[in-house]
């Protein structure tokens, strides 16, 4: 058909039709309905806004964002950035956002790992393993998350005090003050090493692509992992050593009535994390199971019949197909973890919802408070969606 379209005689585009003002014109009807619906909606919104304005005047509620610069005066137990009650509301809210991200990011990583393991366990040939995984998934998904959070929090609160803390492994303490883990004294060298690992990871990725391209040219397979190992592990170690190799372990110990040192996970954070991870892992397990099962057995057989090695089959045949099924629902689970972390407010972990809620109670500015909560979650949701869409598009290309 391409040669015909090149003919100038056919180089014509679709014309537009004039609009006929009659009820039987489809477009007139369509415009009428749209104007009607939009009109009703605008009228309702206008009415609500007018009511709100009148109510705000009558109740003498201030509006605007001026309160953000005022002193918050609210204590926040856990903060990733420096904070004291004399800081302003803006900083308090930022602490809240970071606390939300702290629980969401760690939760996503842990839930993915645990959920994947349980999903694979459900497909295990060992009857006991698959049965236990199945029961776990069924039970955990049939109980409200909030109930589970309260349950974990109650258990943590019921734990003995620091002096009788559970001490399963040396340096690990579990008490009603939370979970204490040994850590190291963090220095600039550690941050640098972490960054070097990140760079190494990206370089390995690029190196792998390059080697694959070379293999496509001359057919010779090349090993990527030695270089990868060097980049991901060797690089950071070198950076760390160059910066003086600082390493001071920070092991918690009981002194008097409380602990000193170590990394503390507060009972609130710990309960929220455990609840979110165990709950979401149940859903992720189902997604992983469905994804693996979606690749028909014939695919394995066909690939093996071609003489491909299991590793290649998994990487080139099975994973691309399974991921296509897994990624979209996984995205919504990641979004769910983030949104569900807002249940923190029920057990007193100070995430953005909790802090914004306190803010709106203190200032009385409900509209601004809720707007902040919604804006934060919408931007997080949007970022995760965009990233996962990008990733999804990428694996869709791999498949082709």
């Amino acid at each position: 058909m391409s040669d015909a379209t090149a003919d100038p005689r056919f180089k014509r585009t679709a014309p537009r039709r004039p609009l006929k003002l009659s009820w039987s014109d489809e477009r007139v009807r369509s415009i009428f309905w749209q104007v009607l619906v939009v009109g009703i909606l605008v009228a309702i919104i206008w009415w609500l806004v007018a009511n709100t304005q009148r109510n705000l005047e009558v109740r003498r509620i201030a509006t605007g964002w001026g309160f953000l610069q005022r002193e918050a005066g609210l204590p926040i137990a856990e903060h990733l950035i420096d904070y004291s009650p004399t800081d302003n509301y803006l900083r308090a809210l930022m602490v809240g956002v970071l606390n939300t991200l702290k629980v969401a990011v760690v939760g996503i990583i842990l839930a993915t790992i645990i959920g994947t393991l349980i999903g694979i366990a459900r497909l295990s040939k060992n009857w006991l393993v698959s049965k236990i995984a199945g029961i776990y998934v069924e039970v955990i998904r049939d109980l409200p998350l909030l109930l589970q959070l309260l349950f974990w929090y109650t258990i943590l609160q019921g734990l003995p005090g620091p002096r009788q803390a559970l001490n399963p492994v040396d340096g690990v303490f579990l008490s009603n003050r939370g979970l204490l883990l040994p850590w190291i004294q963090w220095e600039g060298a550690h941050t640098a090493a972490l960054l070097a690992a990140l760079v190494g990871f990206v370089l390995t990725w690029m190196y792998g692509d390059l080697m694959r391209a070379k293999q496509m040219q001359d057919g010779q397979p090349r090993r990527v992992w030695p270089v990868g190992l060097l980049l991901i592990l060797g690089g950071p170690i070198a950076v760390w050593a160059l910066l003086g190799a600082p390493f001071k372990p920070d092991v918690p110990s009981l002194q008097g009535f409380n602990f000193r040192g170590g990394m503390l996970m507060s009972p609130e954070y710990f309960a929220l994390l455990v609840g979110l991870v165990t709950y979401t892992a149940g859903f992720i397990a189902e997604i992983v199971r469905a994804g693996i099962q979606s690749v028909q057995h014939g695919q394995w057989e066909a690939a093996q019949a071609l003489g491909l090695k299991p590793g290649v089959v998994l990487k080139q045949i099975v994973l691309p197909q399974a991921l296509r099924v897994i990624v979209p629902p996984m995205t919504s689970q990641y979004l769910n973890i983030t949104k569900n972390s807002s249940l923190a407010v029920a057990i007193g972990y100070q995430d953005i919802v909790s802090i914004a809620n306190t803010t709106l109670n203190q200032t009385g500015q409900a509209i601004e408070g809720i707007a902040i909560i919604m804006a934060v979650y919408l931007s997080i949701s949007l970022s995760i969606s965009l990233f996962m869409n990008w990733y999804n598009a990428k694996i869709a290309l791999v498949e082709r």
């Binding site: 619906v37 040939k125 809720i370």
Partner: protein
């Protein structure tokens, strides 16, 4: 191929073949265990380790929950429950006394004690309504009438004020009926809303499509809590002076709006899965938009998405517990309040296990139902 020489394999008698019974090493419990529990040294090790863990855990749980458990406590001089026995048994035995003592409060909240039969009956009607709705035999238009009748009966029972039943204001309702009301009324209103939004999202009218997309994505982008906060603190500002809607209804509206967006996406998936030919055939017959939608599109699209719809409903049933955060007295809030009393403080685990069991029974039944339906529908499709 000429048609008169078509082979008919069914009519050719197969020569009888003696089929030997499989040896005991292939079938039977021993073979089953060898294949499924001890198929290799790794599998055997895992089986043994897990088996040991399960048995020891189970024994200590049975010890705690049954053998060492305390089922009731005496009342002391000041007519307060004496929980010292429970406190002594902490960590060793469960204190189910908190449940036996407080179960009426957990189930029905602050509803007048002597009128508890009314919320109890309302719960029974709810359950009956679910069972009837789950049966295919009742998937007809009359089901809508059954729903209207049942929901009206529940309203009459809960409020009273007629038929010799004293009036009970909504502030005194609580416990399980609130959970069932929030989820059932939520579904009843969210479902039609979801269908309209799903249709709107596939509409060719750009403005209507944009509104539906905006609504769905906005609601799905924020947590339910933010909507509940909106309902509890912001909604009163929206209304003209003097007009007031009680908190339960405001939370109900928030849940409907929330559920509507999620259900709309489920319905939209069904609309998209329907072959284009069905739309075209309906158009070619000259059916109007609403006839086409009502007779051809929706019946097929909805049937396809019943399993995900049930799963979404399970999600809402659980999510109604979030009203705890804005202080509405549902089942979970009642449980949490029951252990505020000094005598019962610290026995949350027992109460939460009990409430968890109630939620589990509802959700498990629904999830088994949806799984059964899914296999049934898949078989239907394969045929």
């Amino acid at each position: 191929m000429p048609s008169d020489t078509t082979l008919t394999p069914a009519t050719i008698p197969a020569p009888p073949v003696e089929s030997r019974r499989a040896p005991i090493s292939v079938v039977g419990p021993v073979a089953w265990m060898r294949a499924n529990l001890f198929s290799g040294w790794l599998s055997t090790a895992i089986t043994l380790a897990l088996g040991y863990l399960i048995i020891t855990r189970l024994i200590s749980f049975v010890d705690w929950a049954f053998i060492n458990a305390i089922w009731s406590v005496p009342v002391n001089a000041t007519n307060q429950p004496d929980t010292s026995a429970c406190r002594a048994a902490r960590g060793v035995g469960a204190c189910w006394a908190v449940v036996t003592e407080k179960h009426r409060f957990i189930l029905f909240g602050t509803y007048p004690f002597e009128e508890h039969w009314r919320p109890a009956l309302a719960c029974v009607i709810f359950v009956a309504l679910y069972i009837v709705s789950a049966m295919r035999r009742f998937w007809r238009k009359e089901l809508a009438l059954i729903w209207i009748a049942a929901l009206t009966a529940i309203g009459v029972l809960m409020w009273g004020g007629v038929l010799g039943m004293p009036f009970v204001p909504q502030e005194r309702w609580g416990g399980l009926p609130i959970t069932l009301i929030l989820s059932t009324f939520g579904l009843a209103f969210a479902f039609p809303l979801a269908i309209m939004v799903a249709l709107g999202r596939r509409s060719r009218m750009p403005a209507i499509k944009a509104i539906c997309v905006l609504y769905v994505e906005l609601i799905r982008g924020v947590p339910l809590i933010s909507l509940l906060f909106m309902a509890s603190v912001m909604f009163p500002l929206f209304l003209p002076e003097g007009m007031n809607i009680d908190k339960l209804l405001r939370a109900q509206i928030a849940i409907i709006l929330f559920a509507g967006a999620y259900l709309a996406e489920v319905v939209r998936a069904g609309l998209q899965a329907l072959p284009k030919g069905q739309y075209e055939a309906a158009d070619a017959l000259g059916l109007s938009y609403w006839n086409k939608t009502g007779f051809i599109i929706l019946p097929q699209a909805l049937r396809m998405v019943i399993p995900p719809l049930v799963n979404t409903f399970i999600g809402f049933f659980k999510d109604t517990s979030l009203v705890l955060i804005i202080g509405i007295f549902d089942l979970l809030t009642a449980g949490k309040t029951a252990i505020v009393e000094p005598a019962w403080q610290g026995f949350g685990v027992e109460v939460y296990i009990t409430i968890g069991l109630i939620y589990f029974v509802f959700c498990f039944a629904m999830s088994k139902y949806s799984q059964g339906l899914e296999t049934e529908l898949n078989q239907h499709r394969r045929r």
